[in-house]
């Protein structure tokens, strides 16, 4: 490797990593947290078949799973100003990623709720818990254990999907890389470099997933 290329890679590394730490990861963390709140609420509403709310949830999930993420970003960032709602790039990305991810995760959580044996709910009610207490103390914790691996999948996918925010001028890792590349034109090296940083983030998350699963599985069968 010639020394110019090496210099570029070394020089660009912090310039890509820092937007990763200050934009990509916060965007993922904030949007995923909001998405989880949406997902659990939408899943519980559907599980309990709450009238009015349930069809609204279905409609919301239908829209956000059925249209491209990039289109959603464009509608909110480029489209909304047309009706007088101008949102800065980062908040716009947070809104879209939260709603998009919330729709997918709602289905994950709903499936996990339905996988909890029905006897658990009956046992809770018969033990003197209210419906909501049973959901909160018995059903939801078990469902979240089931949902944990697919939700981990979702967050790993999301870290990478945040690169789409580059298209609405959020200077996250990919856009930072593009800016460097525009100056030095080393697309192969630079895009591989940013890819490796994404890989690093995903690896850390995979590792966290494994620790999380181990802690959550405390109650699962370890042999009698």
């Amino acid at each position: 490797m010639d020394s110019r290329l090496l210099d570029i890679l070394v020089d660009s590394f912090p310039k890509i990593l820092i937007p990763g730490l200050t934009v990509t990861l916060p965007l993922t963390a904030i949007a995923f947290s909001i998405a989880m709140v949406i997902a659990v609420a939408a899943a519980l509403a559907q599980f309990a078949r709450v009238p009015v709310i349930t069809p609204i949830c279905r409609f919301y999930i239908w829209i956000f799973r059925g249209t491209p993420l990039l289109v959603q970003l464009f509608v909110v960032f480029f489209g909304m100003p047309k009706v007088g709602i101008t949102i800065a790039p980062f908040p716009a990305a947070v809104i879209v990623f939260s709603l998009n991810e919330g729709a997918y995760c709602a289905e994950t959580v709903r499936a996990a709720l339905e996988a909890v044996p029905s006897g658990q709910l009956e046992a809770g009610l018969c033990a003197g818990l209210s419906y909501l207490q049973t959901m909160r103390r018995i059903i939801l914790p078990q469902a979240m254990r089931t949902a944990f691996p697919p939700l981990s999948n979702s967050i790993i996918a999301m870290v990478k999907d945040t690169s789409l925010a580059a298209n609405i001028t959020v200077v996250e890792m990919l856009r930072a890389t593009e800016q460097i590349n525009a100056r030095v034109y080393e697309p192969l090296a630079l895009y591989i470099e940013v890819g490796l940083i994404y890989l690093l983030f995903s690896t850390v998350l995979t590792w966290l997933q494994r620790i999380g699963e181990k802690r959550l599985s405390a109650y699962e069968n370890r042999g009698v």
């Binding site: 044996p117 006897g119 658990q120 009956e122 046992a123 809770g124 009610l125 018969c126 033990a127 003197g128 818990l129 209210s130 207490q133 103390r137 018995i138 914790p141 078990q142 254990r145 405390a218 109650y219 699962e220 069968n221 370890r222 042999g223 009698v224």
Partner: protein, 245 residues
């Protein structure tokens, strides 16, 4: 009289499962509900504790009358706190230890302070011989141990009546005995129990009353001794004979 149900009807779609069932339980009674599969005995028990909504029927509990088809939520949760239910498949809370299974209904359901609830729960676990497994999760317990824990969960809140839905049907024969022994002990202590069971031995030796159901109706009810020794109905006689061989 602690509990009385009258004229209980319940259908699942076109299938009429209960066709006007009547039953009463006095304080201190151990009432066994016997009958072939599909006779509606489990459905009856589930209607009595509101796990199924009866299409019709009147429940009298502790002198209060309720319409089983139109129970208010408030009444359901109030009555459930006076009763307890032991399931065929145990239904222990899978994410809770044996101890937590017992304390959950006390602390969360009834607002009993934690230290007091733990004391009560440990007493209940001790009674069913599960104190040494208090920190085990259900997945780490045998079926018999799980069912005994479920009984501890049921008795901890000192219910006025215990409902059992075929409590030993999911157990291997060698584990059935340990559960029946606990039930026998409760009966001797005067606990009021309504038990759907296939265990004729238990019905004969432990229960004070027997209700024989078939086809969604009560065929015959009376003191266990009389039902076993001199059944009035031919159907009862045939059932008791065939089942004992």
């Amino acid at each position: 009289m602690l509990l009385r149900v009258e004229n209980v009807h319940k259908s699942f779609g076109a299938l009429k499962v209960l066709k006007g069932v009547e039953l009463s339980v006095d304080k201190g009674d151990v009432v066994a509900i016997l009958g072939p599969s599909g006779s509606g005995k489990t459905t009856l028990l589930r209607c009595v504790n509101f796990l199924e909504r009866a299409d019709e029927g009147v429940l009298t509990f502790d002198g209060e009358r309720f319409d089983l088809a139109r129970m208010a939520k408030r009444d359901v949760s109030r009555l459930r706190k006076k009763t307890a239910f032991v399931f065929q498949s145990y239904n222990l809370f899978l994410n809770k230890t044996a101890l937590e299974n017992v304390t959950e209904g006390l602390i969360t359901g009834r607002g009993i302070p934690k230290t007091e609830a733990i004391k009560t729960a440990r007493r209940a676990l001790d009674k069913v011989g599960m104190l040494d497994r208090a920190d085990h999760y259900p997945s780490q317990l045998s079926g018999g141990q799980q069912q005994r824990t479920a009984i501890a969960r049921a008795i901890a809140a000192q219910p006025e009546i215990l409902y059992f839905d075929e409590p030993t049907s999911a157990l291997d024969p060698e584990l059935t005995g340990e559960v029946l022994a606990v039930m026998r002990q409760l009966a001797e202590e005067g606990m009021t129990m309504l038990v759907v069971t296939h265990e004729l031995g238990f019905a004969r030796t432990v229960s004070s009353q027997v209700v024989f159901m078939e086809g969604g109706v009560v065929v015959e009810a009376g003191p266990s001794r009389q039902i076993f020794e001199a059944p009035r109905q031919e159907r009862t006689r045939v059932f008791l004979q065939t089942d004992q061989t």
